[in-house]
Assembly symmetry: C2
Homo-oligomer: 212 residues x 2
């Protein structure tokens, strides 16, 4: 059975994983400090940069391993709300999005799929987390599914007990406000084993694996 | 410039990475306790097992990222010494060796290359570490080269300053004797940065990156 996995989810010490308002200028909603240490070049392998191979980069590189599809919230795809009025918007990532698999964008507003030459495609799907997951499973085949965020989306899937694995990166910063995956998920630790590892950069990486 | 990388090199607290004598029955020379925690299923990705995604498995999965060729000592390929008398021996790994790239076996005794359907091929090459590395670079193209061991081979390449990266796994065991990568490599730390991370299993993972 394929797993549903969360990777490289950054959180502050006060529990926030994004700012409150996503705009074109601030895709993380003003919480970009969370990503200060994140090296996005290595999500598909530590060989994609000449920088030193560190524990942080090793953990980031789990992102693409055995993934057949991603699920993301509409807010990760773009800052718009309501019905689509601008079909020119095809995400933040230009003409070669890094996903290289089908991506299911959660939205109640229909829109035709978008296909890119590098294997990435965006599919706009409404429904509950379980219903969206069913669509993603069909697209992923036997491979795992990455739950790509943002934090509101991860929070919903955690509440519905649909997450098998989560790589959480606790950054030693205080944001003071924003979006949290923990709201409504008290006692989440009862459903998972949690391993914590602190690296030379001061980040704490946590590996949450759902109990069998 | 591609890098030459060592991965998943296990060592005991007293500095040994293999036993002294490799036989058909004991490929690690009686030091198999070093590999007790090693999960070889994940060398090409943590999705290759249903076991929990741990920090140990994350680090092991660096093994194949961006690798175009491996270099190994003759002892890793088989327990024989001297001229090849048995061309039936094609390594320890059966008909689908895990490498999936060209592999250069260091030996002064010539033998025709061996090719497998899964992309693995063995090439038997004599000469100094630098000379063998030249052959491996040609085979690897723009990709990195994995220095696959055993420890005697790694020791030689370290002494000749040919290693760019080394992932060392320090296991909390005492072997009492064997083969060490440290012999003749005093003050090795002066040529590298070293990050140490301890995981929930009790292993310490070290990331040695050569100073630029």
């Amino acid at each position: 059975m394929s797993r549903i996995r969360v990777h490289n989810l950054n959180t502050s010490l006060d529990g926030f994983s994004a700012g409150r308002t996503v705009t074109f200028d601030e895709p993380i909603g003003g919480a970009s400090a969370l990503f200060a240490a994140f090296d996005g070049r290595v999500i598909e392998g530590v060989h994609n940069t000449d920088e030193p191979v560190t524990a942080d980069r090793a953990f980031y590189s789990l992102w693409g391993q055995g993934i057949g599809a991603e699920i993301m919230g509409r807010r990760k795809f773009g800052p718009q709300t309501g019905p689509w009025t601008d079909d020119e918007w095809v995400g933040w990532w230009g003409d070669a999005p890094p996903f290289r698999t089908p991506v299911v964008v959660m939205t109640h507003h229909e829109r035709p799929p978008i296909h890119f030459d590098n294997g990435t495609s965006f599919h706009f799907v409404g429904g509950s987390p379980a219903e969206v997951l069913g669509v993603a499973r069909d697209l992923a085949g036997d491979d795992d599914i990455r739950l790509g965020g943002g934090p509101s989306t991860v929070r919903q899937f955690l509440a519905d007990d649909l997450v098998d694995f989560m790589h959480l990166v606790v950054s030693p910063i205080v944001l003071g406000g924003g979006v949290s995956i923990w709201d409504g998920n008290a006692d989440l630790q009862d459903r998972f084993t949690v391993e914590s590892v602190t690296t030379g950069s001061g980040l704490t990486h946590q590996f949450w694996n759902r109990l069998a």
